[in-house]
Assembly symmetry: C2
Homo-oligomer: 475 residues x 2
Amino acid sequence: MDSQQFREFGKLAIDFVADFYDSVRERDVLPSVEPGYLSRILPEEAPEEPQDWKKVFEDFKEKILPGVTAWHSPQFHGYFPCGTSFPSIVASLLTDGLGMVGVTWIASPVCTELEVVTLNWLGKLLGLPEEFLNCSPGPGGGVIQGSASEAVLVCLLAAKDKTIRRLKALNEDLDEDQTKIKLVAYTSDQCNSAIEKSGVLGSMKMRLLKADHLGRLRAQTLTEAFEEDKRKGLIPCYVVATLGTTGLCAFDPLEELGPICETENVWLHVDAAYAGAAFLCPEYRYLMEGISYADSFSFNAHKWLLVNLACSPMWVKDSLDLIKAFDVQRIYLNDINLKVKIPDYRHWQLPLGRRFRALKLWMVMKTYGASGLKKHIRNQVNLAQYFAKLVRSDERFLVDPEPSMGLVCIRLVGGDELTRTLLNNLLEKKKLFMVAAFSKGRLIIRIVIGSQFTTHSDVEVTWKLIRDEADNIGA
Amino acid sequence: MDSQQFREFGKLAIDFVADFYDSVRERDVLPSVEPGYLSRILPEEAPEEPQDWKKVFEDFKEKILPGVTAWHSPQFHGYFPCGTSFPSIVASLLTDGLGMVGVTWIASPVCTELEVVTLNWLGKLLGLPEEFLNCSPGPGGGVIQGSASEAVLVCLLAAKDKTIRRLKALNEDLDEDQTKIKLVAYTSDQCNSAIEKSGVLGSMKMRLLKADHLGRLRAQTLTEAFEEDKRKGLIPCYVVATLGTTGLCAFDPLEELGPICETENVWLHVDAAYAGAAFLCPEYRYLMEGISYADSFSFNAHKWLLVNLACSPMWVKDSLDLIKAFDVQRIYLNDINLKVKIPDYRHWQLPLGRRFRALKLWMVMKTYGASGLKKHIRNQVNLAQYFAKLVRSDERFLVDPEPSMGLVCIRLVGGDELTRTLLNNLLEKKKLFMVAAFSKGRLIIRIVIGSQFTTHSDVEVTWKLIRDEADNIGA
C-alpha cells in the first residue's frame, strides 16, 4: 500500500468510524454470532499473495464487524465504560503515524516531555496533593501505565522493594528471601480481580478483607488484619484501597485507612480506575479525602475520561521507589546527560518501551477543556440518577445500594431467581448489555451509564426494555 | 467535537501521516530540542475552556512535532525498528473507532476470535511446531501480549507456578514459600534488559550466564550453572533463550539448550523479539532449530513485521499452565457457556482487559500477503549486507561480528576512543541515529536497517555520513 492508497483507505476508515458512531443506536448491543463463528468463515491459512485493500475493507465489514459488541451504544451498561472520543481517536491515529517507541528521552523527547506536562495538568485538575506532581520540587511524579492492573502491580513490587530496604537499614544481616515471604498485601473482598491478581503476579500474599455492608474497607478491619498478621510474624507491606469498586462503585475511606498505613510503614495505593475521573468535579472530592496519605494513585483515563484504551495515569509521591525497584541498565539504552529533572519512564513501569500515550490525553484535555470534561462527568451522573428515579417508580424493583457515579444497581423484589431470569432474558434479546454482581448477599443487576452519547430518552429506552421484560416474566 | 468535525480533522490527520512518510527523508533523525523544551512552551495548567480542533492541530504541528525522533527515517539505525505500515495504521484507527475492551468472549466476540485465527495464521507462517497452535488438538495456543517484557514475565510466573505444582505432586507437604525462593532463572549476559527485569518483577533469581565469543549461551555453560545451583540446594526453573540478541543479534542454539531444559523439567522460553519475524523465510529457520523443546515463544510483530506498537504474539505449548497460574474469578466477569474451544485470554496475560490488537495483524497479513512480508524481511537483510560491503571497502573500519539480519556492527580499527568520538559526533549532527554496544570487549556502533522505506541509495547516504565523519576526526 503506497501513501496515495493510504490516503484513500484512511479517509474511508474515518468516515466508517464517524458513521459507526452516528448510527450507534441502530445496532444490537450484543452481536448475533455463535462461539467459533470466525474460525468457520475465515481461511485456515494467511493469504500468500497481497490482497487489495478494498477487498480487505469489505472483509472487515462483512466478517469482523458482526462480531463486535457495541460498547458505545447507550444501551451498553456492562462493566465500566471504555473511553473513546473523536479527538482521542485522531490523537491515537497521529501517534501511530509518528510510530515511535518511548524508551529513553533521546528515543523521542516529546514522548517523555508531554507525559510530564499532561500528568501535571491532569493531577492539578483532579486536585491531587502537589507532592504527587512532577512540577513539585520533590521526587513525586506521574506516569501513564497501560492498565490499572499494571499500576497496582508496579506499586506492589515497589512496596516490596521499599519495605526490604527499610528493614535492611534497621538490620543489615536481614535475610531478604526469608523476609519477602512474610510480606502481606491487603485489599477488600470487593476489589477488582486485577488487584487480587497483582498478589498472584507479584508473589505476595494478598488478603481480601471483609467490606462493610456498603462495600467499604473499614479501619477496624484493616487494623485487626495487621495485628493478626504481626502476631504471626508476618509483615504488612501494601494496601490497595479502591475508590469506586467494580461491583457497587463503593469508596474505601482513605482518611480511615491512611493513618493506619502511615503508622505501620505500609504503602497505600489508591485505585480509582473508573471513578477517579469524577474528582475533576470538586463536589466529589470528599470521596478521596485522605488522599495525602497515599503513596500512589491511579485511574483509567480510558474508562470515564473520553480517552481511548490504553491510558492509566498513575502518580507516586516518591518516584525513587520505582527507580530503585526497577532500574536495569544497558549500554545501548544510555541517554544523553539531561541536566534537568526529567523522568526516565522505563524505570517507572513493567515494559521497557511504551506508546506515545500522552498525545491523546493532551488532545482530549485541550478540545474538551476542563469545563467540557466536568460537564461530561456530571451529565452521566445525572442520567444515572434519572434512571434510578425511573426504576424507583416501579414497586417491583429496588435500587440498592444508592446509585454511585454512573452506576445504578437494581434487583427485583421477587428475589434472586427472578432477577437472574430477568437478566438472562434481556441478554438473550441482545438489545441491552449489563452484568450481575452481589450486594448484601443479594443478586443485583449493574446498570452503568457509560456512553458519551446517552441522552434522557436513551435511558428511557433502557428502562422500557427492562420493565417490559419484567412484565413478560410476571415479576 | 461532533462527527462532522471528526471527519474533517480525521482526514487532515490522514493526510498529515501520509505527508509525514512522503517527506521522511527531509527531516533530521534527531530533533533539535533541549531537555525540558516542552514544559517551557506549554502552559502550566490545562485549558478551562474547549479549544477549537484546528488550533489544537496547529499546536501539535508547532510544539509536539519538533520533539519527535524520526524512527522511520532510513537514517534511523538505533535499537531495533518500531513497526509501522499503512494498513496497520488504518487497522489501529478502526480498532480505536470500535472502542471495545477484550475481557471475556461476550465482551466482544471478534476480539477473542480474530486473535485465535491470526495467531494460527502467523504461527504456521513462522513454521512453529503444530502443538503451539490453537488449531491443534492439544492445549497449545497463541495470544498477543503488549510487549516482549510482558511475555517473558508471564512465562516466568507460569513456570514458577508449574514447578511448584510439580514438586507438590511429588511431596504434598512441600513448603511453597520456602521452595519458591529456591527457584532460579537463567539467561545470557547478552539478554535484553527486559529479561533481567522479569526476574526482578517476578521475584526469581535471574542468572546472566556468560555468552560465548559470538554472544550465544551454550550448553556447557547452562549445564554447569544448573549443576552448581543444584549443589547449593537451589532449583532450576526457567530459561530464556534469545533468538536475535539486542546487542549483536546473536542466536542462542535451542537444539543445545532445549534437551538440557527438558531433562531438568525447566521451562524454556524463547524470546525472538526482533528476529522472530525472519522465520517467515524458510532460509532462516535453521536459527530456530530445536524450537520444539520450547514451552513458549514470543516475538514483537511491532518490531520487524510492519505492525504498529503494541503487538507481541506469544505461543505456549500448554495454555493450562497460564490459566492455572493466573485465573482469578469474579461474577461480573462470567461469560456465556462457550461449548467450543475458545481461550479466555484474560488468564493468559497480566492485565484484565486488552485492546483489539489482532485487527492490525490481520490487516497487515492480508494486504502484504505472506509473500510481501517475506520480501520485506529479505530486502532489509540484503540492504544490511550491502551496507556491510560498503564499510568493508574502507580499511579504517571493521565489521565485527558478521552482520546478522538487519544489524551491522562496525568499529574503527583505531580503537574504542576513536569509535566513541565518531558516534558522538554523528549524534550531535542529528542526521543519523545509532547506539553503542560491546562485542568481544570492544566498543561497536550498531547500525540497524529498520525503515521499510530504506533503499540502496539511503544506505549509501548513511555510509557517506559515517565515512565523512571518520575523515573529519582523522580516523
